[in-house]
């Protein structure tokens, strides 16, 4: 049987069995913020959480990542590529929206198959995802509006459901099923357990209060590029970039070089970047195609709800709601999408309803 039970006090045992083979990442509490970090002590693992502040993209796409290092001597430059990409990674306790975000990453990092980002793709190949369903979604969650679900299992290898004192463990992918089989000490799940899990899934789905008509958004965005609604939408934005940093699907990065010239060595690093930064589109000539805040705010919405569907046939948003509760100016994405929905065409004029 693929469905097993993991008792809550057995998490430490699970950790000890897997840590030898995998780099074990799980949610921990970092001064009040839940973040996915490498676990040294299984007591640090927090699974009773709403959702992590810092998205789990930070595990495979860290905020700073060395691309390669180099050393210099008299004549030569010697480049050392990353050596640790074969290491197996386990991300434990990830939510379905975040697991789905890795699918969107796959599109970005293997751009139409023409070019592949080896570093990300190799790490992803060696990654196993053990996810957990959301018994109590936040009021800011809207995964069901963007083809998601608080109990979506498709993008996971193993899926846990919190039944109270125990977790229901289900192997989803072949990799996951194999892992569950290897954990032979897990007890079998009963029919009651399975029934309870189904009920919890149903309750969770029904408790999502935020519903957005994303189809209309995508349709309206096709024709409202120059619409004055963007002036209103970008009014309160302070241009910080928190929305991009805390978004599980944002992939933009900057590349910087750091040198230690006293020791004749250097390295190339990629760091998170945000299209909300005023320098994001600054060209070497000095021209900046997006030098106003209005254009940058517009770009973010268009990217996620217009360019992504056009280019990849996918929505660029997983409905996690982090941008909603993290935004310093409370520039609520749900309000923005609502405003876009209300754009009506009145003959040749476009007016906001």
């Amino acid at each position: 049987m693929d469905q097993k039970i993991l008792k809550k006090d057995q998490i430490g045992k699970l950790y000890n069995e897997l840590v030898g083979e995998y780099d074990f990442y799980a949610p921990i509490n970092k001064k009040g913020n839940i973040a996915f970090e490498k676990i040294e002590n299984p007591e640090d693992i927090v699974l009773d959480y709403l959702n992590s502040k810092i998205p789990p993209k930070s595990v495979l796409f860290p905020q700073n990542e060395v691309l390669f290092e180099y050393t210099l001597d008299e004549k030569d430059v010697e480049i050392t590529d990353r050596q640790d990409l074969e290491q197996k990674i386990l991300i434990f306790g990830i939510r379905p929206c975040d697991a789905y975000s890795f699918e969107l990453f796959a599109n970005f990092f293997s751009f139409h198959g023409d070019w592949k980002d080896d570093i990300y793709l190799k790490k992803k190949e060696n990654t196993t995802l053990i996810g957990i369903g959301c018994n109590t979604p936040r009021t800011t969650c809207f995964c069901t509006s963007v083809n998601g679900n608080p109990f979506k299992k498709d993008n996971m290898d193993v899926f846990l459901t919190d039944l109270g004192d125990t977790y229901l463990v289900e192997g989803i992918s072949d990799k996951g099923k194999g892992m569950v089989q290897k954990l032979s000490w897990l007890s079998d799940a009963s029919k009651d357990d399975l029934k309870k899990a189904e009920e919890l899934a149903k309750i969770a789905e029904e408790s999502i209060t935020t519903k957005i008509d994303v189809d209309t958004v995508v349709k309206n965005l096709e024709t409202c590029f120059e619409h004055p609604v963007w002036d209103e939408i970008s009014e309160s934005c302070i241009g910080c970039g928190s929305c991009a940093y805390f978004c599980p699907t944002c992939t933009c990065f900057d590349v910087i070089d750091e040198t230690d010239h006293y020791n004749n060595r250097g390295r190339r690093i990629r760091i998170w970047d945000t299209c909300q930064s005023c320098l994001y589109t600054l060209e070497t000539s000095g021209h900046n195609p997006r030098d106003t805040k209005i254009q940058r705010c517009r770009n973010r919405i268009m990217h996620k709800f217009s360019y992504y569907p056009t280019n990849y046939d996918l929505l660029g948003c997983v409905g996690c709601g982090r941008c909603v509760y993290v935004c310093p100016a409370n520039n609520d994405l749900r309000v923005i999408l609502d405003k876009i929905n209300k754009i009506e065409e009145k003959e040749d004029e476009k007016v906001v309803a």
Partner: protein, 336 residues
Amino acid sequence: MGIETDNKEIISSIRENAKWLLSENQVDVIIGYSEGTVPLSSTPIIIRKEEDVDKLIWNNLCYINLARYLAPLMPQLCDSEGNSLKIGIVAKGCVGRAVNLLAVEKQVNLDNIKMIGFNCNGIVNRSKIDLEIGEKEILDVSISGDDIIVKGHDWEKKFPYDQYINELCKVCQIKSPSATDANCVGECQELESIHDEFSDIAEFESKSADEKWAYIKDALQVCTLCYSCRQACPMCYCNLCFVDQNMPTWFGKTTQFTDIFTFHLIRAQHLAGRCVACGACSSVCPVGIDLNIITRKLEKIAKERFDYTSGLNAETIPPMMDFKMEDEEEFMLEED
């Protein structure tokens, strides 16, 4: 009087003054605060019509310093030729300070600004409350009497107001804008100077260098360098921030502790004598870092070394725009 009662009066005074300014055509737009869509927040709003004044609120969660929208001036606040509109701005004390200081630094023209002053009664400390509630969703935050009531799905918690406001608000002495009638309607005052012992940071300053370093390291470790603090600061209006400079590149932008530390250190250096102690930087931080001791230190340096408090008027030259032959130099190295 309870905080709740005060708030009701503040709201009606703001709306009355806003309505009057718009009806008398003294302003074209008013920047204020409106109800937030998630608990523990408020949304800055720009209104242009008298019938919209009821959208303006005040609820102790209005932590954004509205002067931030004045420099650089947003296109939404300019006319079709790019000239500034006449702007009304809902001003608690620190917003007034920022407006005055921006006028001194020639970033705004006070002829275009009308402050709607009121006596601010403090801003709720969001990160402190978040930390205490933990991983439970907060659904509602309200003020009742002198308590902050925080509610969830099936729980409720009370916090005493005066203990759960921002640390800066606890020691604030400039609760309404320091401005003349020419620039301010509502509650304003004309302050020449304030007296401050800075006893709240005396304990921190008495620690050893290693203890201070440990405290700062612990506080700044979670920083993700999102630059929300910089963007929310009304005095950080540089076109090109020093961290973004790349010919030459002075400092790294990674989240290694040295880079995080140098960002905060140099930003503090750039704000010396200019910080208006609004606490927006701490309130907006998405990971809950509290920078209040740095703000207080900057105020202390300005007051004790240069007898200066920023933003009390639009005339006094701030310390970093000036120098005197008699400046103290006790820190200089001298022969034994």
